[in-house]
């Protein structure tokens, strides 16, 4: 077993990316994720990689586009406002079917907002963000260790399906330190990148990286082929954690760091004899809809808790499909829900006040 080290979430994500073979980082600074580029600027030169601080987020994401097209393991990172600037590029990367990693360490919004933790970029991450019919695989770690493991896996998921992958954290996860272990990276068996623009050397037909299809029929065919890929991902890549749901009257649904706070509330509720469980989506897309749909048979109600005004709750409602009531509790703007407040909400549902 390798040694446990105490690391900030941001630094751990950067180290995990390097250990997973990422050798290109293009970014632009923004709080609360600055430790990622700072770490990369120190480490990349030591592994013969490229760290480049671009002149803007728009530039950084287009550098990612170029490197991904050439078959490189490449990533960028930012926080809400910077991720908004990157949306055009993300759409092009998705349209060109290229793999890359985008890390969003979310802060309160909208606009420049604040720098404290938030989950208000859920819609942007899982419902498009940029223009056009496309998806990102969105991974939501709740501990620093999970941030490491998912960052490593993100590159393989991206390469396997030729899809951009997002790791969605928040300021708390980025800034906090926890012990982490870097297990030797065991990658998946991956298809060769025979589509990459690596130079033909006069020996093969040239590869073209492109998202422009003027003929609507051709574009529809492209999109439908991509839809088929998305269906595969929905079947194979859903991840979630479920705890104490067998006898639960109320199923709590929360992701990322909020799920940790919800677990503290859940423990307190159980001590008072209240039967509550939790489903923690680890992949936000593909969303673990089936498990929630099935739980609607046994649970009496659902309570979604988020650091937003109510975003993931819409996907929970779609999954539960009106079979049982779905309630919401959230804090926004960088405020973080307290376990006692969540417990209060649970009691309100029990008491019929909601």
């Amino acid at each position: 077993m390798s040694e446990r080290v105490l690391m900030k979430g941001n630094e751990a994500i950067a180290e995990a990316a390097i250990q997973a073979g990422c050798r290109y980082f293009f970014g632009y600074p923004i709080t609360p994720q600055n430790e990622i580029p700072a770490y990369m600027s120190k480490r990349m030169p030591k592994v013969d990689g490229v760290y480049l601080q671009a002149e803007s987020e728009v530039s950084a994401i287009n550098m990612v586009y170029g490197a991904a097209g050439a078959g490189a393991r490449v990533m960028t990172s930012s926080s809400g406002p910077g991720i908004s600037l990157k949306q055009e590029g993300i759409s092009y990367i998705a349209g060109s079917e290229l793999p890359c990693l985008i890390v969003n360490i979310v802060r309160g919004g909208p606009g420049l907002g604040g720098i404290q933790p938030a989950q208000s970029d859920y819609f942007q991450s899982v419902k498009g963000g940029g223009h056009g019919d496309y998806r990102l695989v969105v991974l939501a770690p709740s501990t620093v260790q999970e941030a490491v493991d998912l960052t490593m896996e993100a590159f393989d998921i991206g390469d396997m399906y030729r899809i951009p992958v997002m790791v969605l954290g928040d300021g708390m996860l980025g800034q906090m330190m926890e012990p982490v272990e870097f297990k030797p990276f065991q990658g998946r068996a991956l298809p060769a990148k025979d589509w990459a623009t690596t130079g033909t050397r006069g020996k093969r037909k040239r590869n073209i990286v492109n998202s422009l299809y003027i003929e609507p029929q051709a574009l529809e065919e492209k999109n439908l082929a991509r839809l088929e890929k998305y269906r595969q991902i929905e079947q194979r890549e859903v991840k979630y954690e479920m705890q104490d749901c067998d006898d639960a009257d109320i199923v709590l649904v929360a992701y990322g760091t909020t799920a940790r706070i919800v677990k503290s509330a859940m423990k307190a509720a159980r001590r008072e004899g209240l039967k509550v469980g939790i489903v923690r989506p680890i992949t936000l897309w593909p969303f673990p809809a089936a498990v929630l749909h099935n739980l609607a048979e046994t649970a009496k109600a659902f309570l979604t808790v988020e650091m937003s005004m109510g975003q993931m709750v819409e996907d929970v409602k779609l999954a539960v499909n009106g079979v049982k009531p779905v309630y919401f509790y959230g804090r926004t703007g960088g405020m973080v829900p307290a376990p006692a407040d969540i417990l209060e909400e649970i009691k309100k549902i029990y008491g019929g006040e909601k």
Binding site: M172, M176, E178, I261, A338, P339
Partner: protein, 180 residues
């Protein structure tokens, strides 16, 4: 005093007093002792206003929320920090305060209060910046959660490679705080 196996601490003071470092030292020592730990810094505008703080959890259970709402121990190194967090301390909890920088009386009657003139003691030993280590030394003695040996091992890991020459004076400050 509470002798929990779990410490949920808030360490707070001015920026520059080494609050963050003291918290990391304890979290890292907890990790070496094979406990579950978390360290969460304040990174907002408050850092400029007088209460740079960090939340540290050392537990036998996996850490749920890394945010400490009701600390078992408050380490307060200035008046604004005491004002901000005194009411939050858990009943039967512990307050360790730097009495060379805080002159007011403590309102709470249900917590154990230890006053230690850490900043003056640090200045007396010619290491004005090590009041934080004196506070940690006193915390080690008072809680008994982690041994001095473990904290010294942690210090070696937390002190950056180019500052290893400061190990001895840090250890001296830890011991001074422990002996107070």
């Amino acid at each position: 005093m509470r002798m929990d196996l779990c410490q949920e601490m808030i360490l707070a003071g001015f920026g520059g007093q080494g609050i963050m470092f003291a918290g990391r030292l304890i979290a890292s020592a907890g990790m070496i002792a094979e406990k579950e730990v978390s360290w969460l810094p304040s990174y907002g505008p408050e850092m400029r206003g007088g209460t740079a703080n960090c939340h540290v959890i050392v537990s036998d259970q996996p850490v749920g929320s890394p945010i400490v709402v009701a600390p078992t121990t408050l380490v307060a190194m200035n008046r604004p920090s005491l004002d901000k967090f005194e009411d939050a301390v858990l009943s039967d909890g512990l307050l360790i305060m730097d009495s060379s920088l805080i002159d007011r009386k403590i309102k709470r009657k249900d917590i154990k209060v230890i006053k230690i003139p850490a900043t003056r003691m640090a200045a007396d030993m010619g290491a004005g910046k090590l009041a934080n280590m004196i506070m940690v030394g006193q915390w080690i003695k008072e809680t008994g959660l982690l041994s001095m040996e473990i904290v010294k091992m942690s210090l070696e890991k937390v002190v950056s490679a180019n500052k290893q020459d400061l190990m001895d004076i840090n250890i001296k400050a830890l011991e001074l705080g422990y002996q107070y």
